[in-house]
Symmetry: D2
Subunit: 345 residues, 4 copies
Amino acid sequence: MVIIMQTGAPESEVDAVLRAVEGAGFRPWVNPGVERKVIALLGAVDAEKAELVDHFSALPGVERVTLISEPYKLASRRTRAEPSLVDIGTVAIGGPRLTVIAGPCSVENREQMIETARTVKQAGANALRGGAFKPRTSPYSFQGLGVAGLQILAEARELVGLPIVTEVLHPNDLDDIVQYADIIQVGARNMQNFRLLQEVGQTGKPVILKRNPGCRVRDLLMACEYVMLEGNPNVILCERGITTFEDATRYTLDLNAIPVMKRLSHLPVIADPSHATGDWHYVKAVALAAVAAGADGLMIEVHPNPAAALSDGPQSLRPDKFSDLMQSLTGLATAIGRELPVPCE
Amino acid sequence: MVIIMQTGAPESEVDAVLRAVEGAGFRPWVNPGVERKVIALLGAVDAEKAELVDHFSALPGVERVTLISEPYKLASRRTRAEPSLVDIGTVAIGGPRLTVIAGPCSVENREQMIETARTVKQAGANALRGGAFKPRTSPYSFQGLGVAGLQILAEARELVGLPIVTEVLHPNDLDDIVQYADIIQVGARNMQNFRLLQEVGQTGKPVILKRNPGCRVRDLLMACEYVMLEGNPNVILCERGITTFEDATRYTLDLNAIPVMKRLSHLPVIADPSHATGDWHYVKAVALAAVAAGADGLMIEVHPNPAAALSDGPQSLRPDKFSDLMQSLTGLATAIGRELPVPCE
Amino acid sequence: MVIIMQTGAPESEVDAVLRAVEGAGFRPWVNPGVERKVIALLGAVDAEKAELVDHFSALPGVERVTLISEPYKLASRRTRAEPSLVDIGTVAIGGPRLTVIAGPCSVENREQMIETARTVKQAGANALRGGAFKPRTSPYSFQGLGVAGLQILAEARELVGLPIVTEVLHPNDLDDIVQYADIIQVGARNMQNFRLLQEVGQTGKPVILKRNPGCRVRDLLMACEYVMLEGNPNVILCERGITTFEDATRYTLDLNAIPVMKRLSHLPVIADPSHATGDWHYVKAVALAAVAAGADGLMIEVHPNPAAALSDGPQSLRPDKFSDLMQSLTGLATAIGRELPVPCE
Amino acid sequence: MVIIMQTGAPESEVDAVLRAVEGAGFRPWVNPGVERKVIALLGAVDAEKAELVDHFSALPGVERVTLISEPYKLASRRTRAEPSLVDIGTVAIGGPRLTVIAGPCSVENREQMIETARTVKQAGANALRGGAFKPRTSPYSFQGLGVAGLQILAEARELVGLPIVTEVLHPNDLDDIVQYADIIQVGARNMQNFRLLQEVGQTGKPVILKRNPGCRVRDLLMACEYVMLEGNPNVILCERGITTFEDATRYTLDLNAIPVMKRLSHLPVIADPSHATGDWHYVKAVALAAVAAGADGLMIEVHPNPAAALSDGPQSLRPDKFSDLMQSLTGLATAIGRELPVPCE
């Protein structure tokens, strides 16, 4: 941590800061002889001490405090240099093999879910998604089938042999979700629902943590800490678009964030082009790009009949478009030294 | 709702849309004789039907679907033309008298809270804030005193006679909060935690709903519907800054949003300049501006010793700065035809 | 400037940085004995040296370089502690008296301009705006009357006695503009048209520099340097809204920026609520707020018949609405210790 | 265009709008019998009429006006269905062969430029970039060599046989630039310098138009109209990052914009990962992604010694990193059915 004093801050203020630094257990180191003092803290300012930034910032005479190390720890590359692999049964996300999680936004009924499961399995997906509890912007919209939806998902897994990803919205639903699902998704709107993160962490299950569209990469990595501190290292980061002024698409996929996350963290990173664009026309291009940028996998909304979908129809791919995407992905994966699962017969 | 077809969409696609419109219970009305068809829905497309936008958007040949009415209902000015008043005991927020809610970010201990309560009461505040459960970005930071904090808040209320605002983070804490607090705050990070909103709605208590920094005004108004549909009309909107590219301040207060919310909704609107700026230097200017723009009240962080605060020190006003703000507010309020409470002796 | 080395950067890289620092004429100061080195530069790193940040950032082993002082100089409060006054004839912008610059977006014809001039003068405005050269997003839109428009503006000045503000778009127009106008406006789209800024600086005329909606406050202050380095200190900063994800208004007025600019710079600051909102419904609220936040003046679009305006009709106030705004401003100004001009008889 | 009236707008206001629509030469079409009127305009509302949106929006009783067609014309896919090819000598941008434009930010001296030219040619680039006139944020920074820089560029072209891209900042420089350069770049800061766009259009030379970081895709396409209306169809769109709240990188590459531009316009699209990220660590990943998303080419900053660069060192690739990128691109190009030039011997 580096504390920058205001120009001409009186000696008494500099002294008070030095005492505060020592009081916090650090040895201060201050530049000699110039008008503007800079105080460096000797000793490791680890994640537990990051909030000293606020403390020192509020002292009289302090202009600015800069944190040198990142405020997250367990998610950081500095804690673990090699990439983490999260095993979801069919694949270890984070290794050379790409993960494609596909399925409808919501589980609507048995037929829709089973049909979609068969289709995406055949096209080469290695996990199945479907929402049983749905966080809808409007209370007047379809809110999901709840436990009945989980049971349909479990049946689909049984039939096609793919692990299941579903989202948790409320702590009370967690027991049911743990019973039926293989991977728990924490949605973008709950990325900073810290208590939920802790409870999800305690389940030990693999967790897909979606970036909130208004949060920075470092906020996402801080949110991981809440899960990982509970002893659960199986966190998968998911970029799904941020809010910007551009309105030609629903969100703006933050492509830069993919190599940034891979550099700052050892955790696997996937991308969700369906939510990032909000429009199926752009899903294929953005999906290919995310993989080319280094994403370890994708999450794609697929629906047998998007116009009849109870949610997210406009961004869902029809089965034939999904197969086409998978074929293009296969060529791309080879070109960049990754692999895709072989579609089934 | 207006459905705009793609240029040259074949008649079969137009027909399919017309059938879908009729199937949804509306009478379609389509422009004659031009290359590009526009289909208007006759009949009220109320909030319950807003998701038809997605449905129609996903039909072949559809270029774009425009919702004419807002997708929220109970929060809308069209449902209630006159402003709503929310009674919090000392004041009815939304009327001519301004509300100033002040206090520390976190309840840290009995002395700090009682001292702050006395100070802000004396300066003219009409409600007291303090966090017992704290949503901190870092799991390594102070997380609040929990129920012990609520009890200190209740004691402060007893002593100074001001109602208490505190934030809920987890459904399990709601019973305790209802027992001790007068107004429940739903923080920015939980604005779209829809299940929590429903549970807060069921308490019937006044609710301050803070805008998520990545969400639009209309998303905030949609979130209100979750509270209000449970039969709780006592919702207070709070603008607390949005995420933008400007980094001279922590967030950007969306000043425009104040008159926008007042025009679109009948609910009272307050502003939180402390979080919106993240820097006490700017709190006074922004507070005065928010009131000049039509805000019904303010939420201000005050701490007897910001440098020792366990959270949000840099944005907290010292008691003397808070008194100064209250004096300036008094003059301003008179100039714009509003009133402030008289400071106590 | 503070240079932060990567953790474990080898001694050879630290040495190379130290040599580079010395080569640039500074004495480096480096913290003893810890794994991560921090190098501070002793000696003033003034605006001329700010680009060393890029130079040092590109050296091997460097993690990050932090500039301690602002990269602008002439516009900075550190160069001049007391506020600058810019004299525009009727008023010195930056003093206790507020400036209200009003008029149509474009000069459309003699009648429209003269009528508006009389109206706004009567309501108490102290300067007149009107565009002769118009930067329109579409080449198919009205582009302004050119020199004929300047002549109409000059006639209006003659008749009502208010100084004239008009925008420059092209260096070739500058001679004409200098001949007719009292204050030159550099529009938001040209804020970083640095060559134009230099040429405007050379005229010595007061300059209103509007913030580009995608630029930070510090970029605006850097742009001022281009004008001021030419020997022209008469720069007026104008906040007119930034681009954000919120689409209820055309732009988001960055209210925080008003006290931020006043703190970082000695230059006067005005606000343009017409462009910031794009909707006349919100102009009054936002105008009052900007003044309450400390703005030294306002720029308001007024049109005798907004529905017939050739540009910016939806955000223009009708004369009666403008008078109403001026009356409210008068009360507000008094409350905050400022003055407004007395409307004429 | 569709005009949506306010709920309960009186018949007199509806009539006034109908008369205005007819006055503008359209036949209005209004829905029967419901409380809220919707007025559609029959007849083509082409780009020349787009400003009627403002006109109708300002009429009493109008809630909102929606433009159905895009406000740009020459750049639109509707005007030309097949992709445009822009011939720059070595390649026709927009066809199957990818374009890679590489070189330093600024021409610093003869040696640096010639060396870079040889290097990038050898690695397979098919055009050369270098700035002679530099738009620097700070007036205290290196501003380019001017005409001497153009001459060095011309010499480099002579030696390596690659066409030259350079940026224009001021109309007065245009003659010199036309004499020496093959492709004229209009930088992000001048994207809405409409007069400059017209003058560049008149040269007939291929133009790379970089998106301003605060502007929407449709603003970029409107800016193209200024060039194309002068009779110059040779416009190349360039995505180079937008301003967002994320600060881990300098800008956020708007990846979505690549397929969006390809769908809305027939013009070729390239991407600039160097400016979009501001950090060479991320250039390769983002470059590959842009091509995977459908970009027709890339613009990459390369410098023989980034730490000694007079501008943009931190985002410049060293020659070996550039060669590595070109090799990865070759594999990727094949996988997606595109081609790259063969590196020279």
